[in-house]
Amino acid sequence: MNFRRYLLRKTVYVIITIFFIASLNFLLFQVIAGDPTYVLLPRGCGTSNVTGECPLRAALIHEWALDQPLIVRFATYLRNVFSGNLGTSITYQTGVPVATIIAPRLWTTLILVGVATATTMWLGIILGRISGWRRGRPADVIITLSTLFGYSMPSFWVSLLLIFSLSVTIRIFPVYWDFGAYARMDLLSTVLDYMWHLILPVATFVITNVAWFSLTLRNSLTDVLPEDYMITARAKGLSQGQQLRWHALPNARLPLVTASALYFGWVVSGAIVIEIVFTIQGLGQLTWEATTAFDFPLLSGIFLIATIGVVVANAMADVLYMFLDPRVREA
């Protein structure tokens, strides 16, 4: 299949999926949640003007057509969302557009998730290579069991344990995300300080998610190693490292990309909890705040952004897969 045509098809697919996500969001928050004038509007305007005329309420009713029939509301909702209006916060920061609240938080989360994914993948490949090559030996058993144990641990609990042992008992790492508390710092110290604060959250990520990559690589190596070309490689006298690097890994790499596709959904879920425990001011922390404040428009906006993010990341992984696999690329 033509690469450009594939790209086009994928784009159309993503757009359709985003449309369905928006519809699901509408269904959840405007139909299942109950009366939208109760759920999606601020309760009165401040303390003194509870019963009187309320400009924000009136404006929001008009903006989202909340006094109109369901089908009009749905059309209005789609129009608003696809023109970038995600709603208006009702309790967390009353009157502020949801998009304005989410935008700065998104960057913090993206950096955290990016650094964490890169680290997890790197370590996962190293561990997977060892245990795939030494299948059934003690090294493999130890790696497989410990990564599976890490995978079974709830990330909030791992965060608590790490903070307790390395920030509270032995004071090596910061307890709170007080990054930027010292205003006058040059660029280098700022970056170093940021990394300093990132170490424990990233470690939590690695512990709870490394099994994704190490086990996938182990299993695909197991499939590759008995192949004929591996026997040829050994027969022509390549060292173990060369066999692995030149013949085994390039073929075992592909399932890794597929694994990473499902991994994004997990990462978002993991990031939310890790941010809460480490008080990182990202999207996850915001989810917690929106939940405790019952700020439904804000929650709806976060849900929409997080889901779209995962869909886009998945599509990108698919395209990468296409790019990496010559059989698919040239077929």
Partner: protein, 306 residues
């Protein structure tokens, strides 16, 4: 006289049938125990079920408001794990906590299995446009990140035991549906299906008599894995403060970790508060996962090579 022989024959038939089932179960149990992964999983599950549901015998009745002592006590001979922020004995709470985690895990898994199997069998067997729509729907729900989804569901439906179970089931059915669908697709092509169709069996009959019995073993393996995921998801929900709560409701392990976090056990260094419940969650999740993988291995020996 004649009647007694009929009864006797029926009785012997029943016994034969029963002994046949028992024999089958014994064979299955033997295979199960031989699989080390599955056996370790079963041991963990049985141990924690006995501890949780035998709680009244182990630590006495669930504490009432009258049994409160000083709050936030460190471990001592009277309170092995200290007391919580309200002054309840933490060991008692810990032992009881498994009940809620396990009940939610099992119930959510049952609901998810019914949903997932129905979608998988229906789509896989009937094919065509039905299958296309159901498969796309499965893919769609599979891609939504589970934690934000389950949070939104629970907060919209207002948190309580039934809504939490329902929300977890809604998040977990797609992976089952996908696995079952692909199994149905292979079973459907087997010869005996074609034969039974040739002698005039209706689709509903084939599904009930041939398809479902043939995918059932896989459903069981999936169900066990889903229990593992459900216990895990419940812990996250509880940590978010969306667990089943109330003065009379038993606190789950997740709720205990949440309360320890909210009441600053971390900065005060009270590891005995948040440590044990988290460990119990981990071990139970691991136990169900091990049994699930073990069952898959038994049913599909090709996996064992891995």
């Amino acid at each position: 006289m004649g009647e007694t022989t009929v009864v006797g024959r029926r009785y012997s038939l029943l016994r034969e049938r029963l002994s046949h089932d028992i024999e089958r179960f014994r064979k299955f149990a033997a295979v199960l125990i031989k699989n080390r992964l599955a056996f370790a999983g079963i041991a963990i599950i049985v141990l924690f079920s006995v501890i949780s549901f035998g709680a009244p015998l182990l630590v006495g009745p669930y504490p009432t408001q009258l049994q409160r002592t000083d709050d936030n006590l460190p471990p001592s001979s009277a309170h092995w794990l200290g007391t919580d922020w309200e002054g309840f004995d933490l060991l008692t709470l810990l032992v009881y906590g498994g009940q809620i985690s396990l009940i939610i895990g099992f119930s959510a898994s049952i609901v998810a299995m019914v949903l997932g199997t129905a979608v998988g069998v229906f789509g896989g067997f009937y094919g065509g446009i039905t299958d296309l729509i159901l498969a796309r729907m499965t893919d769609f729900f599979l891609v939504i990140p589970w934690l934000p989804f389950v949070l939104v569901l629970v907060i919209i439906l207002t948190p309580s035991l039934p809504t939490i179970i329902l929300a977890i089931a809604i998040v977990s059915w797609p992976s089952t549906a996908r696995v079952i669908r692909s199994q149905v697709l292979t079973v459907k092509e087997r010869q005996f299906i074609e034969r039974s169709r040739a002698i005039g069996a209706r689709p509903g009959f084939i599904v009930r008599k041939h398809i479902i019995p043939n995918v059932m073993p896989l459903v069981w393996a999936e169900a066990v894995l889903t229990v593992s995921n459900s216990v895990f998801t419940e812990a996250f929900l509880s940590f978010f403060g969306l667990g089943a709560s109330g003065p009379d409701v038993i606190k789950s392990w997740g709720v205990l970790v949440n309360e320890s976090y909210v009441h600053l056990a971390l900065v005060q260094g009270h590891w005995w508060y948040f440590g044990p419940p988290g460990l119990f969650i981990t071990v139970v999740v691991l136990g169900f996962a091990m049994l699930g993988y073990g069952l898959e291995e038994i049913m599909n020996p090709a996996l064992k090579r891995r």
